[in-house]
């Protein structure tokens, strides 16, 4: 079928257009909103919408700008060799006419039916279904990127009619195939979830649940059976233990009885031992006491005898010591008297010696005092001369040599100052004058000379006034002042010295110096005579002499007898030597007498001590002897007499030995019985029996508990039978499960095989289709590109594009870019149209309304190849664009729209 021309009137923006279409390729160009899409819609309505329609539908089609009547569409088209002319007026009751070129003309429903037949569609029931017609050939604006396989599915039957012819040997699955495959697919989805797990409620899941429940029930029953068996084992073990314990307890109790009997024997032996021990102790004590007393009596008697023998020699010694003491006393008395005499003689000798010394001293003092008196007279004469010289000196002014030198210095200075002053001063001399000349107000006569030592005003007449400045500047004034100052100092110094001139000063100073020298000479003489202390020395000597005289008188009075007196110092010295010798002799004699007396006193002290010591010894011996006699008497009073005591001692010894033997026998019996071990045995056995009783109680409790657990009651079942049943049920459930699993596996296998085989079959159909698509895509993407599409039952799906070099995996339609999607979609549409065209007259129109909006200009130019290929394969291509320049290379007939055609 080829559309030759279309005429549209009163259709929305179109008032009245006629467009002639090329058999092969037409480009409908026009700016936006020029009415391109409206024209194509009108063309589609003309083909597929019934002329009679509802108001709403007609309203949408009616022109709002051109009020010339209802929408009208007229089409001229060709099918095979036959041309048709179709005219539709859309109204509530519209009109359709279809006429061919051999004179047939149909109207109304017959025309609509014929038209639908030509187009190969069901008559559209309403506007919506009409719009969906030929959607595979009609790319509405904005729909170019939609996956076109859904359109392929809508044409499935036509495609499947045509595709085997393309592929050759392909065969199509039968309805039975479809039904059986569906049946197993259904069964599979009933059995398994999407991830392959058994589906809840399926027979497989039920078998699994049943088996699981049976396993759990078997485990519960097995547990109960095992518990019962354990309880039986427990009860057996407990009763066995009780029997064992009964035997053990019986044995232990017998042992306990034996130990008890032994312990009773031990108790009675211990009582006997206690009694015997007391008796033995008593008899031993009595024997010991008497033996002790007997021994004491014998001992004391011996001691008394011994003491008496010791006392006898002590009396003789006492007498001897007393005689020694008396002799010593006499000796002391005689030596004492001799000593006293020697002392008296020594005293007299010492007095004489001291008197002789005093006489000698007295003569010495007298001689000294006489010498001092002579020196005292010389000193007195010198002192009178010095006093006269000093009076003379005091009358002269007091000019020291230092002052005199000062006066001379000042005189020198004054001379120097006067000479300097004269050297610096200016001299003026008036030689002649006819006018009055005044110097510092003082008239200066002619020839008069003046020395100027300071600036001086000179007036000559009334009109001449001169100032003369002497040389030296200020130094002149200073020199003048200095000279004055020295003169004043000199005057002051002379006044101070009380002299009229420097020459007087020199004379007085020399006289004073001579007097001083004389005084110094006299004083040196005085000093040689010790003048200062001579008075003291003389007084002291007088006192010493007086004292010596007094001492001689006193000592002379002390002597008992008179002695010769010396007349001079030499005699005194001789007397002194004699007296000293006598004194030394007397002193030696006294020392000897003293030694003899001290020796006698020492001997007496020794004699007294010996006597005292010996006396004490004798007293101690007596006391001891008396004490022993007392003890002896006491003992003899307490105990029997000697013979009776001997017999009693013998009796007591026999008694003691007997008692000791009995006690030893009893103790040996006790030792043989080992009472400590017996007591330990008793404790141990009691403890052990107690423990065994406790163990038996526990075993009895365990037995009772086990018996209680095993006791049958009316509701109880047989655990063994229950277990056997549960096990059998589990086995049966396992069989069921195995069968169910086998059945399920079979279903799974069938489903899988049907799937695989369906795919294989579908590929036989879809391969020619995919090859067609690939042919178009190669125009755009080169020789390596491949298209894939699958047929699943009655549905096309899985449109993919494979581009080597762009990854190995085929890319889903939806994953492609927008531009590539619309290009692939166009290729699919063209391929479909090409296949479907076989069912028509070999040609179908394909309309692209702004279908490559997302393709870049370079790709659009490649699209020209694809569209051109389609046209060459017999399709009628109609492209709508607002950019006709993009399609300049397409080689299509171009119709510019927007220019009203009347």
């Amino acid at each position: 079928m080829r559309i030759k021309s279309v005429k549209v009137r009163n259709y929305r923006v179109i008032g009245d257009w006629v467009v002639e279409l090329d058999d092969s390729m037409t480009l409908l160009a026009g700016p936006n909103e020029a009415g391109k899409s409206t024209l194509i819609e009108a063309l589609h309505r003309g083909l597929f919408l019934k002329a009679s329609g509802t108001n709403a539908v007609i309203q949408k089609m009616a022109s709002t700008q051109h009020l010339g009547g209802p929408p009208e569409v007229e089409l001229a088209f060709q099918v095979g060799n036959r041309s048709y002319r179709l005219a539709k007026t859309f109204k509530q009751v519209g009109s359709t006419s279809l006429a061919d070129d051999v004179g047939n003309q149909l109207r109304g429903p017959a025309a609509e039916e014929k038209l639908a037949n030509i187009l190969g569609v069901e008559e559209a029931a309403n506007a919506n279904t009409a719009t969906a017609q030929w959607a595979h050939l009609w790319v509405w604006q904005g729909k170019s990127g939609v996956d076109p396989t859904s359109h392929a599915t809508s044409q499935i039957n036509r495609l499947l009619d045509q595709l085997p012819r393309e592929g050759g040997a392909a065969v199509m699955q039968s309805p039975l195939d479809t039904r059986v495959a569906g049946e197993f697919s259904q069964k599979h989805s009933e059995l398994f979830t999407a991830v392959g797990l058994p589906r809840a409620g399926s027979f497989l899941q039920r078998a699994m649940s049943t088996h699981e429940a049976a396993t759990q029930a078997r485990e519960v029953a097995e547990g109960a059976l095992n518990r019962q068996r354990e309880t039986i084992a427990d009860s057996l073990a407990a009763s066995q233990e009780i029997a064992n314990l009964n035997g053990v307890i019986q044995r232990l109790e017998e042992e306990q009885r034996q130990v008890g009997a032994s312990l009773e024997t031990v108790a009675s032996l211990r009582q006997a031992e206690q009694n015997q021990q007391a008796a033995a102790a008593d008899s031993a004590r009595q024997h010991e006491e008497l033996l002790q007393a007997d021994n004491n009596i014998r001992r004391i008697r011996g001691e008394i005898q011994e003491q008496q023998q010791l006392q006898e020699p002590l009396v003789a010694e006492d007498l001897r010591l007393k005689a020694v003491k008396a002799g010593a006393e006499e000796e002391v008395q005689s030596t004492e008297a001799a000593h006293n005499d020697a002392v008296a003689a020594t005293r007299q000798a010492r007095l004489r010696q001291e008197l002789a010394v005093a006489h000698h001293t007295l003569f010495e003092k007298q001689s000294l005092r006489d010498a001092l008196q002579a020196r005292h007279g010389s000193v007195h004469a010198i002192r009178l001369r010095v006093a006269n010289l000093e009076r003379e000196l005091a009358r002269l002014p007091s000019i020291t040599p230092a002052k005199l030198r000062r006066v001379q210095e000042l005189l020198g200075d004054l001379e120097s100052a006067r000479a300097g002053l004269n050297a610096m001063a200016a001299g003026i001399e008036l030689l002649a004058a006819d006018q009055d000349v005044q110097l510092d107000g003082t008239a200066l006569g002619v020839g008069q000379t003046r020395i100027l030592v300071e600036p001086t005003d000179l007036r000559v007449g009334p009109s001449v006034h001169l100032r003369i400045r002497p040389g030296g500047g200020t130094t002149l004034a200073e020199a003048k002042s200095k000279e004055q100052e020295i003169r004043t100092d000199l005057r002051d110094l002379l006044d101070e010295l009380g002299v009229a001139s420097p020459e007087a000063a020199a004379r007085d100073c020399a006289a004073a110096q001579q007097l001083v020298d004389e005084i110094r000479t006299e004083r040196a003489r005085l000093e040689g005579l010790d003048g200062d202390s001579i008075d003291g020395q003389l007084a002291s000597s007088e006192n010493d002499l007086l004292a010596a005289q007094t001492d001689v008188q006193q000592r002379g009075g002390l002597l008992a007898e008179g002695v010769p007196l010396p007349t001079d110092i030499t005699e005194a010295l001789s007397l002194k030597a004699t007296a000293s010798t006598a004194l030394r002799t007397a002193e030696a004699e006294e020392s000897r007498a003293k030694s003899a007396r001290d020796a006698a006193i020492g001997a007496l002290r020794v004699a007294v001590q010996s006597l005292d010591s010996h006396g004490r010894n004798m007293q101690q011996g007596d006391a001891k002897l008396n004490s022993l006699l007392g003890q002896l008497n006491l003992l003899l009073g307490m105990h029997p007499a000697d013979d009776a005591r001997t017999i009693r001692l013998q009796e007591l010894r026999v008694q003691k030995d007997n008692d000791a033997r009995e006690l030893a026998a009893t103790r040996e019996q006790l030792a043989r019985l080992q009472p400590e071990l017996l007591e330990q045995d008793a404790g141990r056995l009691e403890r052990s029996i107690g423990q065994r009783h406790q163990e038996r109680n526990r075993a009895e409790n365990r037995l009772a508990e086990a018996r209680g657990g095993l006791r049958r009651d009316g509701s109880s079942t047989d655990p063994q039978a229950e277990f056997a049943s549960a096990k059998a049920r589990e086995g049966s459930a396992l069989d069921q499960l195995n069968q169910a699993q086998a059945r399920a596996q079979a279903v799974k296998l069938l489903h899988q095989l049907f799937d695989e085989e369906k795919r294989t079959l579908s590929e036989q159909f879809t391969n020619p289709f995919a090859e067609r698509i690939t042919g178009y895509l190669q125009c755009l993407f080169g020789p390596d590109v491949r298209a894939q599409v699958q047929l699943d039952g009655n549905r096309f799906q899985g449109l993919r594009m494979l581009r080597p070099g762009r990854g190995d995996a085929a890319i889903d339609f939806e994953s492609l870019s927008a531009g590539t999607r619309e290009q692939l979609a166009a290729a699919v549409r063209l391929a479909m149209a090409e296949v479907l065209a076989r069912g028509h007259d070999g040609c179908l129109p394909v309309i692209f309304d702004d279908a490559f909006a997302n393709s870049d200009p370079e790709r659009v130019s490649l699209l020209h190849r694809m569209l051109d290929l389609a046209a060459r394969r017999g399709l009628q291509i109609i492209v709508l664009t607002c950019n006709p320049s993009d399609y300049a290379g397409l080689g299509a007939r171009t119709v510019q729209l927007g220019q009203r055609v009347t």
Binding site: L225, Q720, A746, L749, E757
Partner: protein
């Protein structure tokens, strides 16, 4: 002196492997009924007493209903009954024999019953019994050991009364091998060493535990169970009897085997090599079971292979037999092997290319061994059924 020797009554056995509840009860009830038949045999043969050599009960904790039924049946036997506990109903504290309920029921319903719980001689008027009871499931020591103690079997004792030991345990490899699906679990056998007993000390040993009737020595016999409770092991195993024994001191006992079983426990095996053998299978089974399938239990083993249709038919037959028999214990190792015709029907369908292709692949998988092959054969059956239904 005639006595009746029996053992292994296994009263209270649950027969849990029998799926049908009514049939389970039938088997349980039959064990009680057997006791009445034993009583009748004793009376017919003028046996003075009945000796039960262990395992009168299947469990040491059977239900009160079982206890009451057992005591009632024993009471009806009409002669003294002596029982020792075996490994299934061992004695000891808490055991069935220790239950107050048992003692009371026994006193009221079975005054002729004596339970021998102690290993000590029981001297009766005409005979001396030497019981060797088991007090636990597994005795580590030989329960007859006490008989070897000095003086126990002294010649001079008990006058000329015949001496009979009651023993439960395994002798020379004969004993209940507890691998039966009905048993609560196996374990070590209770070993009895008869060789160590004095040659002439005992006149008869009444053995229990081995379920077939078996002469160990002329004086030592297993009576076997009086009513089968499991499929017998091997052709030599002859269960379902009691023994009537004529004993005298110093004489070799005269033993008469008297059958008492009501139910038949049969083995049946068949190998399918062709679908046509299905009819032969059915005929053979029919012939073996006989006229009263309600008293027969069959352990069936099937091997070989069958086509899909024949397999479906076989399943129908087996379903019917399972209903008729007391029990059909089936081990079906016969594989599904589609016949060439069945395979053609599935794989050669020009009109249904998908089914044909799937069937061809399944046929390939089905020819392999193992799990994959099994699943594939099952899948073929399902595909076959789906196509048949269409």
């Amino acid at each position: 002196m005639k006595i009746l020797h029996t053992a292994d009554w296994q009263l209270g056995k649950p027969f849990a492997g029998v799926p049908d509840g009514a049939k389970r009860i039938l088997l349980q009830q039959e064990r009680i009924n057997t006791l009445d038949r034993i009583g009748a045999v004793a009376r017919e043969h003028s046996a003075g007493m009945i000796l039960v050599a262990g395992d009168a009960f299947d469990s040491p904790s059977v239900t009160k209903a079982t206890v009451s039924a057992a005591c009632g049946a024993i009471g009806r036997m009409g002669c003294p009954v002596f029982v020792i506990p075996g490994n299934h109903d061992h004695g000891g504290p808490g055991s069935i024999w220790d239950q107050e309920f048992f003692r009371e029921e026994s006193r009221q319903l079975a005054p002729n019953l004596t339970v021998l719980l102690k290993p000590e001689p029981i001297e009766l008027d005409q005979v001396v019994l030497f019981p060797c009871p088991l007090l636990r499931r597994h005795e580590s020591s030989d329960p007859t050991a006490w008989l070897r103690q000095e003086g126990v079997l002294d010649e001079a004792r008990y006058g000329g009364k015949p001496r009979i030991a009651l023993v439960h345990g395994t002798v020379q490899g004969f004993g209940a091998q507890e691998d039966d699906e009905e048993d609560g679990g196996g374990g070590q056998p209770n070993l009895v060493d008869l060789d160590r007993l004095p040659e002439t000390g005992l006149d008869y040993l009444a053995l229990g535990d081995w379920h077939g009737t078996k002469e160990i020595t002329p004086r030592a016999w297993y009576s076997g169970t009086p009513e089968l409770d499991r499929f017998p092991k091997g052709a030599a195993n002859q269960p379902g009897n009691v023994l009537v024994v004529d004993v005298g001191r110093g004489n070799q006992p005269r033993v008469e085997v008297v059958p008492t079983a009501r139910h038949r426990w049969q083995d049946f095996s068949f190998h399918f090599s062709d679908d046509s053998e299905l009819d032969r299978f059915d005929a053979q089974l029919r012939e073996m079971v006989g006229a009263n399938p309600g008293s027969v239990l069959v352990r069936m083993e099937l091997e070989g292979s069958l086509g899909i249709g024949a397999t479906t038919r076989l399943e129908g037959l087996l379903e019917a037999w399972a209903a008729r028999l007391v029990r059909l214990r089936l081990s079906n190792r016969a594989v599904v092997a589609p016949t060439p015709q069945e395979l053609d029907e599935l794989t050669r369908r020009p009109g249904d290319p998908l089914i044909s292709r799937v069937a061809a692949r399944l046929a390939g998988l089905a020819s392999t061994q193992g799990e994959e092959g099994n699943v594939a054969r099952l899948a073929l059956r399902q595909l076959h059924a789906a196509c048949q239904a269409a």
